[in-house]
Symmetry: C2
Amino acid sequence: MTTISATAQPTLDEVAAAAGVSRSTASRALNGGARVSPQAQAAVDDAAARLGYVPNRAARSLVTRRTDSIALVVPEPDERVLSDPFIGGTLRGVGAALAATDLQLLLIIARPGESPRRLARYLRAGHVDGVVIASHHREDGLEEAVLASPVPAVFVGRPFAATEGLIYTDVDNRAGARQAVQHLVDTGRTRIAHIAGPADMAAGLDRRDGWSDVLTDAGLPADAFASGEFTVASGHRAMTDLLAVHPDLDAVFAASDSMALGALEALRAHGRRVPEDVSVVGFDDLGVAASMTPPLTTVRNPVVEMASCAVEQLLTLLSGKRDVPTVVFPPELVVRAST
Amino acid sequence: MTTISATAQPTLDEVAAAAGVSRSTASRALNGGARVSPQAQAAVDDAAARLGYVPNRAARSLVTRRTDSIALVVPEPDERVLSDPFIGGTLRGVGAALAATDLQLLLIIARPGESPRRLARYLRAGHVDGVVIASHHREDGLEEAVLASPVPAVFVGRPFAATEGLIYTDVDNRAGARQAVQHLVDTGRTRIAHIAGPADMAAGLDRRDGWSDVLTDAGLPADAFASGEFTVASGHRAMTDLLAVHPDLDAVFAASDSMALGALEALRAHGRRVPEDVSVVGFDDLGVAASMTPPLTTVRNPVVEMASCAVEQLLTLLSGKRDVPTVVFPPELVVRAST
DNA sequence: CTGTTAGCGCTTTCAG
DNA sequence: CTGAAAGCGCTAACAG
């Protein structure tokens, strides 16, 4: 009638006792229920429900050697990254893909000066079954950490070292940039500047390459460019610099919408009308572009889908499969009033 | 010379053997090193380093009954929340506060239909040592879940039920709203509308109260208001509605900068000039406000600090202290061109 | 289908 | 200061 052990978290033993079966049977019933008689199953289910049994994950992990959780690694929590819609989108994509499973999401915010060894170490501590790496920079040592660790990992965004064995999902940044710049060329612009992303990120380089591809093909000069760090402020600054050196520019392709926003401000400050005097195209389309004035023509970056896809890749990996192929999403030009 | 067990993760036993001490001594040396002779300590440190030893957390958790991780619970990953700078700021604040510790951050994205019991259950599974709840809605059942669980928890943003025992950090939303509206009154506006936040969030209600406080005190009508959900689109919609019903309005206080942005668009679409015809004030100042056109007068919401503070509260709780006081941050009016 | 038997790797009394 | 012993709660062979 009255249970001996009171409020403490019930253990499997207690459930088994309450159900009148052995611990093993209780365990089997609780996990999948293979090879368990209907009555035993029912008794265990009932006992577990009555007692409010919740398996202790540490104990389970200890023996299964799985943690049922995966980590999302994002870089240092500086101004940019966590306010960036990019991370928000990634989070959403990861969350969505995980919803179908019962994996938990661990957010690892990689600290600034921290050596990559720390991550490698962390991974080896067996905290997570897999890793998604979100915003990878050239020298962050994440590739080595991943390669050195037995924990499956995937990148969202092409890793720098195209090392064999590094799996990733990405958008075709170069093709997207080409679409953007081609659009500018097609609408009659001839002096097309570029506000590039950081040179230590693949997306930055690829978008710049796409820009110069088109200009070169069109026989136009590809010399007007300045770099930013994907932020509004850096876009503003870059645009100001560009205007100083190339006052004749009639279009600008910014490697992110945030930088395009900064550019728009700078153009306005310099009395240039958009799109009459200068056409502007961005990259990302994560929400801000549509609500800018004027609405920004941009290249849609399927961040959420990419993140979900990366998780799928990871799940495939976790299921024991090898040779998971890299996935590259097609970008899509979204034409709005800024051009 | 050669170790027997090869690539596998070294265990404490192996470290102990390599150091020529018992497992207990090795364990002590590895944790704090109380009551360990200098030589034993050195031997263990050395062996651990050489072997690349990393303690297995599951095993440790099993016996210590701690997980060294805390969870950040955020609501469903809908459009709004994860693109919202508010969550970004919260994440940053939490990350910053955790940087000093070696606690890990678990992100729990509460799914939509999911019963609060699931969270309660999760908490009882012993996955985390504590919880920070980020964006709490009236009927999400989080308060009950927290109260029903033995796991320490704190809210960022006042919980609805002012139940004894619920700890939180917040900004004084009502006071902030008062400052905003008072500013509008002081600059001569007399027909001040409000775009309110959702009625199922404390911040939404409190800001509305602040708005009506001032209008009532000033003898002005507090009847022009519409509600949104803190999004740009809903702000646009609300503003449009307000203009239809109250074409004479000469100011609007929006409960978030995002909604203010939407309002700005709507005002522009209706040919109203800001601030000449209509003054606009927002709330949050998380970055967008400053870069709007015109730059938005707003109330600074110290989200990052609040999140850090919440973590501090949680750490205090975890250290065994009781009666951790609630903290309420003062808001601060930031005047810009939109008024 | 079920129970018994061993641990998973670690911390922690408790005697020395 | 150190080591031996005893589990933490769970799963996974292995015989029945």
